[in-house]
């Protein structure tokens, strides 16, 4: 009798075990996927910030020599390029001072990567400060 009870209860116990295994595995796999996506978003945000800062430095050296417009050109370029993204918020652009002939202009861009604007908020519900530096040099053959 006892062996009969044991035999009949075995599949039920195994079903419970399978359910428990699935309940543990499923969220783990989901977490892994979201974690993987979070890393991709981090890389992507860095590329976007690098591109915007690089364009800002290039815009800074296109301003007239000795003019304070360098900083204005750079800031407008930087903000204009970065504002397209919902999860990457421009904080500020440093440097990009007055352009002088044969002198490089260096810009440093700071931005906030907000994971809460993405589905990855389940894994990383944080904001992350990221930065990028770019240097540009104007053409030697510019007249002014």
């Amino acid at each position: 009798m006892s062996s009969l009870t044991q035999r009949s209860s075995r599949p039920w116990r195994q079903q419970g075990q399978a359910l428990l295994e699935t309940a543990i595995t499923l969220p783990l796999m989901l977490l892994l996927l979201l974690g993987f996506l979070a890393v991709l978003v981090r890389v992507e945000a860095q590329i976007e910030l690098d591109t915007a800062t690089s364009l800002a430095a290039a815009a800074a050296v296109s301003a007239p020599v000795g003019s304070s417009l360098s900083s204005d050109y750079a800031t407008r370029t930087w903000v204009g390029t970065l504002r397209q993204s919902s999860y990457l918020k421009p904080t500020r652009l440093e440097g990009c001072g007055t352009y002088q002939p044969d002198q490089p202009v260096t810009c440093r861009g700071l931005a906030t990567l907000d994971y809460r604007q993405t589905p990855m908020a389940l894994v990383v519900p944080i904001s992350l400060a990221i930065d990028s530096t770019a240097t540009a040099r104007g053409s030697r053959y510019r007249s002014r």
């Binding site: 035999r7 599949p11 195994q14 079903q15 399978a18 699935t22 595995t25 499923l26 796999m29 989901l30 892994l32 996927l33 993987f36 996506l37 991709l40 890389v43 992507e44 590329i47 976007e48 591109t51 915007a52 690089s54 364009l55 290039a58 815009a59 296109s62 301003a63 007239p64 050109y73 407008r76 370029t77 204009g80 390029t81 397209q84 589905p119 007249s143 002014r144």
Partner: protein, 152 residues
């Protein structure tokens, strides 16, 4: 009979786990492909914006942004990673369509000028990306640069 039932149960469990595993794997692959496409798109619009801001060498003059040459430059950069996607290079000063109006598998590239700023935009839905509910796989990127001005 009981052994057959157990075997059937194992098969159902296996198919469930394999199905979930494949969904996760395809999701990761799809996200990777999308990241490559997005990176190429960022590089492309930045290169296009640099070209557009540089001015033309023709009769229009060096202070006129070269919008016509910007979109082909973007197209050349993104084409290798946009398999099966139709790339529309719009005419200069023509705006890209809004995202909902662009069908999947289509991408618009447009170059416009607003005041002294030049904008090169890429917008659309690549064909190669696998749609996953909750994740938006469309692309909407732009690079905006102050136009270069040359003084006589």
């Amino acid at each position: 009979m009981q052994r057959e039932q157990l075997r059937g149960q194992a098969m159902v469990e296996f198919s469930l786990v394999v199905g979930l595993f494949l969904i996760c794997l395809l999701g990761a692959v799809s996200a990777s492909v999308y990241t490559v496409q997005r990176s190429a798109a960022i590089t492309g619009v930045a290169a296009g914006a640099r070209i557009a801001a540089g001015g033309t060498t023709g009769e229009a003059g060096a202070n006129t942004p070269d919008l016509a040459d910007a979109t082909p430059a973007v197209g050349r950069i993104i084409a290798p990673v946009m398999a099966g996607t139709h790339i529309n290079q719009l005419k200069p000063s023509q705006n890209c369509r809004p995202t909902p109006a662009i069908p999947r598998g289509d991408i618009d590239i447009c170059a416009t000028q607003t005041g002294d700023m030049v904008t090169v935009r890429l917008r659309g839905k690549p064909a190669a990306a696998l749609p996953i509910p909750g994740l938006d796989w469309s692309l909407d990127l732009a690079a905006q640069v102050h136009a270069v001005t040359f003084e006589p």
